[in-house]
């Protein structure tokens, strides 16, 4: 289950998120689009294990019930505690906000991008029961980027490895296998050796075949 907490005004008017209110999506993703009361947050914290990922809006605010005697400071600390609990339980967390810098490793994302890719992200989750965060960040064509990421590592490896050792290097093999799925990595490396290609030329070939 995916949990999104976004209490900003006129969410439904500003973003194309009507699908989140459909039954099918509701079963996979819970959207809290109002300022949550402290009791809501406590309840969510108790049931955190049912969520695989929590996406709070950067400026999420918790409000106090009328009968709640807690100080305002305690209420504002509650958000921090809630976030800490999510992290302690090792539940994936992505923070989003308007004009927020999109950073895959820091798990922050611009709100426009978040909502633009959200449907594909949830669709993939519903079909495969897998949270593919790259869809959220890079859209449906994330595989292109994934391939690039792998080849980036392969190129680093090529640069730091002696050419004679390529045939024994698993990372290079993996990269070649994904770039040339119908060829044997060993054959490719032997072909390079036969042609006496230098590293620069090999890197160029990888680039050209991306």
């Amino acid at each position: 289950m995916i949990l999104i907490l976004d209490d900003t005004e006129k969410l439904r008017e500003r973003f194309d998120i009507e699908f989140l209110y459909d039954k099918e999506f509701k079963q996979a993703c819970q959207l809290i689009d109002k300022k949550p009361y402290s009791r809501d947050i406590m309840q969510l914290a108790q049931n955190l294990n049912s969520f695989k990922i929590v996406c709070p809006h950067r400026s999420l605010r918790i409000q106090k019930e009328e009968e709640n005697n807690s100080s305002d400071e305690d209420i504002s600390k509650m958000k921090g505690n809630f976030i800490r609990t999510i992290d302690e339980r090792k539940i994936e967390r992505i923070e989003f906000g308007r004009d927020m810098h999109t950073n895959f490793s820091a798990r922050t994302i611009d709100k426009n991008l978040f909502y633009a890719n959200l449907k594909s992200f949830i669709d993939f989750y519903i079909s495969n029961n897998v949270l593919e965060l790259k869809i959220l960040y890079y859209g449906e064509n994330y595989k292109e980027i994934e391939m690039m990421t792998l080849i980036d590592k392969v190129i680093d490896e090529i640069r730091s490895t002696d050419i004679s050792e390529f045939k024994n290097n698993q990372l290079i093999h993996d990269g070649l296998r994904s770039l040339f799925p119908f060829e044997n990595p060993i054959d490719i490396i032997e072909n390079w050796n036969k042609k006496e290609l230098c590293k620069k030329e090999i890197i160029h070939i990888l680039n050209e075949n991306l």
């Binding site: 900003t8 994330y142 680039n207």
Partner: protein, 571 residues
Amino acid sequence: MEKIYIISDYTVKMKGLIRNLNIPEANIISREDFTDEQKCHDWTTKVLNNKDIERIIIPLSLPTDAPVINTDGLLIALHIRLNYELDITKRLIPIIFLSNFLVSKIIEKNSFDADNNPQNLLFTKGIYFSSFNTDDIKATIEKAKPLKEEDYKKNVLNKLNIIRKETSGGHDIANAWGCFKLSQVVGVSDKIFKLDSISKHLKQLYAKYLICSNESFKTERRIDLIPLKCAGKKILFIDDKSDEGWAELMKNIFKGAGDNFVFVDSAKYKTTDEPKLFKDFEGFLKECRSHIGKEWDLIIIDLRLNPEKEDIDNELISPSEFSGYKLIDEFLKENEGYQIIVSTASNKIWNINTALEREAASYYVKESPQFNYSISETNKHYQNFKTDLQKCFERSYLRDIYKIWKSAAEVNKNQDNSFIKESNSMLDIAWNLIKQGQLDFGYLTLFQIIELFANQKYDYRDNSIELEGVKSYMIEINADNEIWKLTFNRDNRNGDYFSSGDEQKSKGVRANSLYKVSCLLKYVYEKNDASLKEFGELNDFRHKIAHEGAKGQANSENIKKVIEIIKIIRQ
């Protein structure tokens, strides 16, 4: 490698590279994670201002061991190129990107921010590209030359394609821009730029691009040599962006007014989260309305108070539907004499015209980032604004005149319907003349109402007036003389007048308007001698205007006194 700097995330890869390149420790700039554009701007300002950098090396994908490859290095470079807070030479340092990929593949495989289009930077002058190979980098450093200033516009800015983010709202940026530009000529730009509400917008790449393109960021400090004279004036400022710089700026413009400068604090009615939207627009309007009827010498009202519905790009709303227009209408319905300046971030003349047709005194167009106005143009604009403000202050007496005019127009208990009808139309004519600045003609028209009434009430055939249904003679005619019921007093300085007490006069003197009105004031409305003397002064003014021509002799005080008399006689 003395002045070669490199942005590093201290991965094994980067450490090895830096070692091979012999880049000194002091030249390593530690990469930071940015949560937004504002932070990236501030970081580049800090880094580049504190170091003497000749060339900078930036890995295209940051961090270099990111689980997914990215192009974040481009964003840092864009923030350097468009950092108006940096000296131009620092903005133009050669930037060397490091990547394992060909530029063509980077463009082909990555998806880029459709508004900022950071990929365009790769094709601008002063940008160099190298693999992570040490020899390649060294060779690239050798050929990397600083850009010339003349290249900045032609070969950098003109090749970028940065457009406004759809969700940012034109209103927000226009507001921040307009506020900042005006603050520059008011001499408080330092203060205004420090406000988070302003800088957060001006540090966005779109605003930065405009500022650099227009060369409109100047750190020079200007002083307003002719500050606005507004001591003792009561000023009301209504703007949904009062919390975002404008109230602070206006407070400085109206410094002389001190606590008499009042603004409706929009922050109270907005969310505390970004974007700060109205959570209680009706509450905001209610507070604005609570100021209707108060004694303002000047009111400034923004045309679009509810930007979510009335954003600058929304051309479907008729100008008279804008919340600011409606508020102007409400203020003017209460008092047509209010001096209202309509402010707007739109330069659409039809929007302004609608407000002017509704009799706003003038307008102020907030400068838009879309136009390249020089500081001297901005200053001219500001001086015009000050002239308009001064004119409003000079005409603020209209508020008091209108107030008493309205109370006189509302009184209609006088049983003489034809008089009420005729005086109604004369009151309207008088007000129209007065608000057009024709005070003398307005005065004459008002005075005519009194004369009209006196002529109807005073029976010239037998010099009588009716008191409680009984004829009362104002001139008793004897065999040799006449006894007038009031005594004439000559006053060459302030105007002749009548006072209590009988006066014997030779026969045949005809009662004039002064006598007729004085009799009515004394015997019908039981006014004292001071009132009669005052009427003498008003009568004298009337003669001066009628005989010497309209030379601006009437003023708000004597107009108000005449209206007070009209009010009495309409009762």
